[in-house]
Symmetry: C2
DNA sequence: TGAGATTAGTACGGACAAATT
DNA sequence: CAATTTGTCCGTACTAATCTC
């Protein structure tokens, strides 16, 4: 190494190549010696070179080496005596021995039952953006400037401090105002719990209201994310077929519905069906989890929420901003019956302690300034235009022979495929070509199979929709003719 | 009403006074009829007047009435037949009847076992800011301007779209860099999971690695939030007394530690103790949850993290930004052994689907620009000064006869109280006077009782600390003399 | 920043086809 | 057959909000 001679044992600890440049010099010295001690190359009692000597040998300052020695000392790797020197400390030998790593890794990871359930669930769709993908809003038209101003407001001093686990009070108040004005729901800010979206709302609900083995009713087709929450908990899933008349005679503990617009079909539960559900829940001492999915983009006038037509203490209402604002926002809310408020907020404190205040304050400001309702209005119009355009394109192609089985409005449409074409296979092929179109059967519970394509029309421009639909049509024709 | 005669039943539905002027005309018509139907005044099968007639009677346009009828139809309140008329629909009678609300509410809420556990746990401290409160950083010195710029960066177009449930990739990379540089931890961004703080990290870990009834070891004293997570899950809690030598011969499934700085005492587990813990975990096929609490503000060089001294696949490392940045940020991370990455990210998707991307992107930018490490450095110096000042003040008062049992550094200090003074009672009295000082016994598990005061020195100015300490001292003197 | 053009939402009136009695 | 009623279409007028220059 340098002109100064080190013992070979020490010298071989330091190789220039192991210095990454990213870390500090003294850390590197520390790391080299630490490794040598842990590997057992420098055994207990071994006398390290004086800092002065090592520094010179390595061509660095003595202080740097001294710092490294200090770190080793404070960690307990070495013992130093003034006037004597530094010695490697006595440490449990079998831990120092590098051989212990080689012992075969245990194959069985001790996971919880719960985790086992999750592994058995199908992974949810990834979030890579593709063409004609459903569920993604028209980000191009998002008022970035206004949002930026709101975020800037959220970085003011006041927003740094408090973080009620239930969520920012201002935001909860804004949500209450919004729900009253647009959904006819009368609620108190106390009842509102800020979540990261319907998914977390379902999770909290499941955790706090359901026990393993209990029955839960979910829609089919429906969103697999929420039903996954229930099955991961070890609940028994009863599918409620949305194609048929709704009749509930189950002893389920909870029913999870999207009454105003079913996902993905967009169908609406009729008033009497909605009333029956609540009646059933009250009679059966069960719960209703109402996901007010997509009501913002319902065609014409959105139907009343379950919660507004009956002030039942059985209904938990959830909504999300991520679909109306932008996906990465991940902000939503739930409205709880007053009786559940204490349990939920208390548990929340232990589960995640509440979400980041920053986005909450920004969102409250965004709503308070009227930006939100203005944006919604615009999006509604925009999506109607987009849907119209896509339908016109479909009319021009062979896809026009497929039945449109989704209700008007929303952010996507659903085309029914003939039985001879497997929607998953077709979507798999489309995926390879860069399409984010989903298979309808992917949203069905066991026992039901619906064959169809779920096509989003929100985000893509007309120049993309036209050739996109044409490519889908030509693939369809090819598959149809082959079958 | 008008010259046109309506049936009295219909006429009495509409009273001019109920029209607020704020709502639209057609909504008012809708609401009047809806109410009458729900009240049962218009029974099922009742024929509504033709739109033309009602319009004339009310003195409004037919189209307005038609819009209202359309809404009633789409909600399911009425049925319309062309050429015939509109009739009130058949609806479940006992729900329409307003009397059904009067039936006595069920007393027993069907909650999960899990929720029952939460109710039995003590509520965690509220977040109202008080004097000398521990755990709150010096917000005054937070670089708001830099943070604002980072937030502004986070509202750019690109940040709107993707939201990997594990967290923003850029942030995970920054965290990996930080951990390597400051904590000597080598990890891959893949292993990092963004959380809302240590609390959520503990929750996720508990959910996915522990079953009901299994044993967990926690420190005492320690943070009650994380131990609460385990006991809510129905785990058996074994307390590890930090005052005594650490020896583990338990068959626990998991040990939760703050090895670099115990909370609230700030004590450090020695190297050989830390090695023993990992050895135990590997031998016992158990897990170590390492909360690297407060290592940023350790005195001198922080000791290496468990994770850095042994690349064991048993160690889960967690850290948080909320204490170094600001409490309302609620952002943290965990580093998982590679084997657990799949389970955790997959489960995460179902639990909350990931956190808001906005703060993550901002935080990544904040770190990437070097603002974070600069801020940390400043805070470290500042807190040393603050601690020094507080200690000096304590020296001047009767509090100087109390033993300082916390390690130097950190964000608070701990004074031991004599047995004759109950710390909870004293803190209760202090709370009334606006102090956020905590009782040490509040952090102890059953079977241990330590009597002391946990006093924060970060946030308050010198002008507050001086009289604050004096008031605490005079209360102490009063209590001591009484006992 | 502000005046002028544009657009959406509400309310109104009328015409006519389709279905029912 | 005629009378009635809903559903769909047209156009107009006014207001408030939004966009553009």
């Amino acid at each position: 190494m340098g002109p100064v001679l080190l013992q070979p044992k020490i010298a071989q600890c330091f190789s220039r190549s192991s210095f990454s440049g990213k870390e500090t010099l003294y850390r590197w010295v520390f790391r080299c010696l630490e490794l040598a001690i842990r590997k057992g190359e420098l055994e207990a009692g071994f006398k390290l070179p004086p800092t002065r000597l090592l520094a010179e040998a390595l061509g660095i300052a003595r202080n740097t080496v001294k710092t490294a020695y200090e770190m080793l000392l404070s960690e307990g790797y070495i013992e130093s005596r003034v006037g004597d020197g530094s010695y490697v400390a006595e440490l449990p030998q079998d831990l120092i021995n590098p051989g212990h790593k080689s012992k075969k890794a245990r194959a069985d990871l001790p996971l919880s039952e719960y985790a086992q359930q999750y592994i058995s669930l199908p992974p949810l769709n990834s979030d890579i953006r593709k063409i004609l993908q459903p569920g993604i809003p028209a980000l191009r038209d998002f008022p970035l400037g206004q949002w930026k101003r709101c975020l800037s407001f959220a970085s003011s001093f006041k927003a740094l401090e408090s973080f009620p686990p239930a969520g920012d009070l201002k935001l909860r108040e804004q949500i209450v105002d919004y729900l009253l004005k647009f959904r006819g729901i009368e609620a108190d800010p106390e009842q509102v719990l800020i979540t990261s979206g319907s998914q977390q709302a379902a999770f909290l609900t499941a955790q706090l209201l359901l026990n393993k083995g209990e029955k839960v009713i979910v829609e089919t087709p429906g969103f697999p994310g929420t039903s996954g929450v229930f099955s991961s908990l070890g609940c028994q899933i009863d599918a409620l077929n949305m194609e048929e008349a709704v009749s509930i005679d189950s002893d389920a503990r909870l029913i999870n519905l999207t009454p105003s617009r079913n996902f993905p079909l967009g169908h609406t539960l009729s008033l009497s069906q909605r009333l029956k559900v609540v009646q059933w829940a009250e009679h059966n001492n069960s719960w209703v989890l109402e996901d007010d999915y997509d009501s913002e983009f319902a065609e014409g006038y959105p139907v009343s929420a379950l919660l507004s037509i009956c002030e039942s203490d059985r209904v938990i209402y959830t909504g999300t901003f991520s679909r109306s604002m932008f996906p990465a926002l991940r902000l939503g809310y739930m409205v709880l019956p007053p009786k559940l408020v204490t349990v939920f907020t208390r548990a929340r404190r232990y589960m995640d302690g509440g979400l980041s205040q920053v986005v909450q304050v920004a969102m409250a400001e965004f709503m308070g300034q009227g930006f939100y309702s203005r944006h919604l209005k615009k999006m509604r119009q925009h999506y109607i235009k987009q849907a119209d355009h896509m339908l016109k394109q479909i009319e021009k192609t062979s896809l026009s022979e497929l039945a449109l089985i989704s209700a008007p409005g929303g952010m996507h449409l659903v085309l029914k495929l003939p039985d001879c074409i497997d929607d998953r296979a077709m979507v798999g092929e489309l995926d390879k070509r860069g399409f984010g179109i989903r298979a309808l059967s992917g949203y069905c519970q066991q026992g039901q199979s619906m064959n169809g394509l779920v096509i989003g029309f929100c985000v893509d421009k007309e120049e993309v929709i036209k050739p996109g639909i044409e490519e889908v049509a030509s693939l369809y024709k090819a598959l149809r003719d082959k079958a």
